[in-house]
Symmetry: C2
Subunit: 379 residues, 2 copies
C-alpha cells in the first residue's frame, strides 16, 4: 500500500476524529475508496476502537431512489419515505465518531434522480442527519479517477494534489490560523483590495465587530469536520464596495466565471459574470439574504494550490479569500443572535497572491498572499 494512504488514514483517525480506545466508530467507504477504507480500519484496530463499515455507494443510493420512484403508488411521481429510518438512527446514536470516505466512480452517478425524490428523501432523513451530526464526524475523500476527472487532472497528478492538501503539519497550521482568528476577533472592519492589470479591481469593506472567527483546522477538536480544511472564517455585515472573483465556481451545474459584485448598504446592487451570469442572477434572487454576505473566509492551506471544482478543497486554497452570499454560520455569532439568513450559501473565491492586501482596522494583515507573521511580509 502507498504510504500516503496510511498517512491519510492516520491524520483522519488521530488528528481529525481524535479516536481513542473503546470508541465506536462508523466508517462509510465509497465505491472506489476501498484502499483508504482498509488503511482506516487498520488504524482503528491499532487504536483499540470498534468499527462498523458502511458502503457509501452513490450507485446503490441511485438504485434505491429510482426503485422508490418506480414503486411509488401515490401517483404524484414523488415516493414517500419512512420519516424515522430506525436502523440508521440507532446506528448513529450508538456511534462516537463517523468517518465518511468519499470517492466513487462517477461524480454524476445520481444525475437522473428527480429533485422531488432527493428532497423527499433528505427531508425524511432529518433525524438520521441530526444523529450523525451529533457524533465526532469527519468527511474526507480518497483520490479516485472520477474525482481526478472532475478536477481536470491526471490520476497521479490528482493523487499528489490530495495528499499535499491532507498530509500536512496540522498542528503548525492550526497555530498559524489561530493568529488569523485572533486578528479577526479583535478587529471591527475588514478591507480587501486587489489591483491587477488583467482583472477588475476589488475594493470591498465589511464590518466584523462582535463576530467570532472559526479556526477550521480539520479536527473535531476545532469544531472542524472536513479533511482537508485550512480556513478561518467569520460572518461579516454592512458590506460596501466591489469585488471580483477570478476562481471559477459551479452553481446549479453551471460553470460561473469572473463574477463581479457591487455592494451598497450591505446589499448587492449590481453584478456581472464573464460566464454563467444567469445562474448567478438566479442565486441572488432567491431571497433577501442571498444579496447579503454570510461569510468571509481566508484560505490558508498552501497544500491546495489550484481550483479542482470541489468545495472541500477550493475554499481552503492558500492565498485566496472567499466571500459567500447567503446564510451565516451560527458559530460566528454572539449567543442568541441570528446572522444573515437565506436558503443558500454560495462561496465565491478570489486569488490574493499578487497585487493585493487584506486590512483589519486599517492595518495590513496579508499582502500579496504573505501574512504579517511570515518571512517576506511587506507591511
Amino acid at each position: 500500500m502507498d504510504e500516503r494512504v496510511r498517512e491519510h488514514a492516520e491524520v483522519l483517525v488521530d488528528w481529525s476524529a481524535r479516536v481513542e480506545a473503546g470508541d465506536d466508530v462508523v466508517v462509510s467507504v465509497a465505491e472506489d475508496a476501498h484502499e483508504l477504507g482498509v488503511a482506516v480500519a487498520e488504524a482503528l484496530g491499532e487504536r483499540g476502537a470498534n468499527v462498523t463499515t458502511l458502503y457509501g455507494s452513490a450507485e446503490v443510493s441511485r438504485a434505491y431512489l429510482k426503485g422508490s420512484e418506480a414503486g411509488a403508488e401515490d401517483g404524484d411521481g414523488a415516493p414517500s419515505f419512512d420519516d424515522d429510518p430506525a436502523v440508521e438512527r440507532a446506528l448513529f446514536e450508538a456511534a462516537d465518531a463517523y468517518l465518511r470516505i468519499g470517492g466513487g466512480r462517477n461524480t454524476t452517478a445520481t444525475a437522473d434522480v428527480s429533485s422531488e425524490t432527493r428532497r423527499a428523501y433528505a427531508t425524511a432523513r432529518q433525524a438520521v442527519r441530526e444523529a450523525r451530526m451529533d457524533t465526532d464526524w469527519v468527511s474526507t475523500v480518497h483520490p479516485t479517477r472520477s474525482l481526478a476527472q472532475q478536477a481536470g487532472m491526471a490520476y497521479e497528478e490528482y493523487q499528489e494534489f490530495v495528499y499535499d492538501a491532507v498530509c500536512r503539519d496540522w498542528e503548525a497550521l492550526a497555530d498559524e490560523m489561530a493568529a488569523m482568528k485572533d486578528a479577526l476577533d479583535a478587529g471591527e472592519e475588514v478591507r480587501i483590495v486587489t489591483e491587477r492589470d488583467d482583472a477588475p479591481d476589488t475594493d470591498i469593506a465589511m464590518s466584523i465587530a462582535g463576530r467570532t472567527a472559526v479556526n477550521s483546522a480539520a479536527s473535531v477538536a476545532y469544531d472542524s469536520h472536513n479533511l482537508p480544511s485550512g480556513e478561518v472564517f467569520t460572518a461579516p455585515y454592512d458590506t460596501e464596495g466591489e469585488a471580483f472573483f477570478d476562481v471559477p465556481m459551479t452553481i446549479d451545474a453551471t460553470r460561473v466565471r469572473d463574477a463581479h459584485l457591487v455592494f451598497e448598504g450591505g446589499e448587492v446592487v449590481d453584478f456581472s459574470a464573464g460566464a454563467g451570469e444567469v445562474a448567478l442572477a438566479s442565486v441572488l434572487d432567491i431571497d433577501a439574504g442571498a444579496r447579503r454576505l454570510g461569510e468571509l473566509g481566508i484560505g490558508m492551506n498552501r497544500g491546495i494550490d489550484r481550483f479542482t471544482d470541489s468545495i472541500l478543497f477550493d475554499e481552503k486554497m492558500g492565498d485566496t479569500v472567499h466571500l459567500a452570499v447567503g446564510r451565516a454560520y451560527d458559530a460566528c455569532l454572539p449567543e442568541g443572535e441570528s446572522g444573515n439568513d437565506s436558503a443558500v450559501h454560495v462561496d465565491m473565491i478570489s486569488d490574493v497572491s499578487e497585487d493585493s492586501r487584506l486590512e483589519i482596522d486599517g492595518e495590513v494583515v496579508q499582502r500579496n498572499g504573505t501574512f504579517r507573521w511570515e518571512d517576506g511580509f511587506e507591511g
Copy 2:
C-alpha cells in the same frame, strides 16, 4: 445490467427474505458484489423498504484484525475486543431483515490473521451475532472471479452455474421437498445403498424415528437462510453399515477425497480416505459426538450439478445425499430433547445419480437419483 442479476435480487428480496413495505433491511455488500447490491437496493426501493448498506469487505476485516494484533499491548499476542460492540448490536436489533451478499476478490483474504485473533473477535461479537440471527437473515453470493477460481471454473461458466442454482421455480421445488420431508417424518429407518463398479459400495442404515425433517427451501418462511438452498435434512441415530463419499470436501484447508466410513452401534469404527486421511482422522477424534452422525441431508437442487468447493452450493446438489458427523440441528429434534452433540459438523457428500437407492422403511423413495413422484421412477 445482466437481467439475471435483477432476477437474483428479486428472488432474494421476495422469495427468500419476504421483504414488505416499511421493513428495515440491512444489506451487506462484499467487495466485488456491487452489481447485486445495486439490484437489491433497487428492489428494496420498489417494495417501499428502508435500506442501510454495510460494506462486507474481507480486506477491511483483515486490516482491522491485523491492526488490533499490532495494537495489542497485553503481550500475549491476542488482542482483546469490546464484548458489546454497541453500534452493530443496535443496528441489527433495529433491523427486520439482513441480506448478506458475499463475493469478494480473494477467498483467502484473511489467511494471515491468527486463529487466536479470529476466536477472540468471534467470541466478543456473540451479542451481535445473536441480534443478527434474530432478524430474517439470508446469505447469498454474487458470482465473482474469485469464487469462480475457487470452483475451478471460468468466470462466465461460474455465472451460469450460480444463476442456475439461484433462479429456480422455488415454489415448485418447495412443494417437491415437502413430499420428501413428509416421507422422512413418517418413516423410522433410512437405508442408502450404492453399488457401482468403480467405487466401494455404500450400504448404510440409520434410525430417524421421532425426528423432524427440515424443508430448506431458501426462504425465511421455511426457516431456511441460504440462497441457494434446496435440501431436506434430518437428524439420524443408531447408524449401521458403511458409506463411501465420492464428492471431495475441504477439512481444515485440506482436500479430502474418497472418504469411507464404517459404522457399528451408531459410531464410526473404521475409516479411510483416498486423500486427506489425516485431516479426516483429526475430525473424528475431536470428541465422542464427532464419531456419530448429526445429519442426513438429501440434495434436491438440480440447478447445482457439480462440486464447487463451497458448502453453500455443494450440500444442496441434486442427486446427492450427505451425511454429517458431529452436531445435530435442534430443529430436527423433539422439543426439549438434545441430539448428537459435538464441536464439529462436517458434511460428506455422495453422488446417488447411478446404481443407487434410498429407502424409507424398506420402500424405495429415490432410485438412481429419480424420486418416486417423478417421471421415470423405477420402484
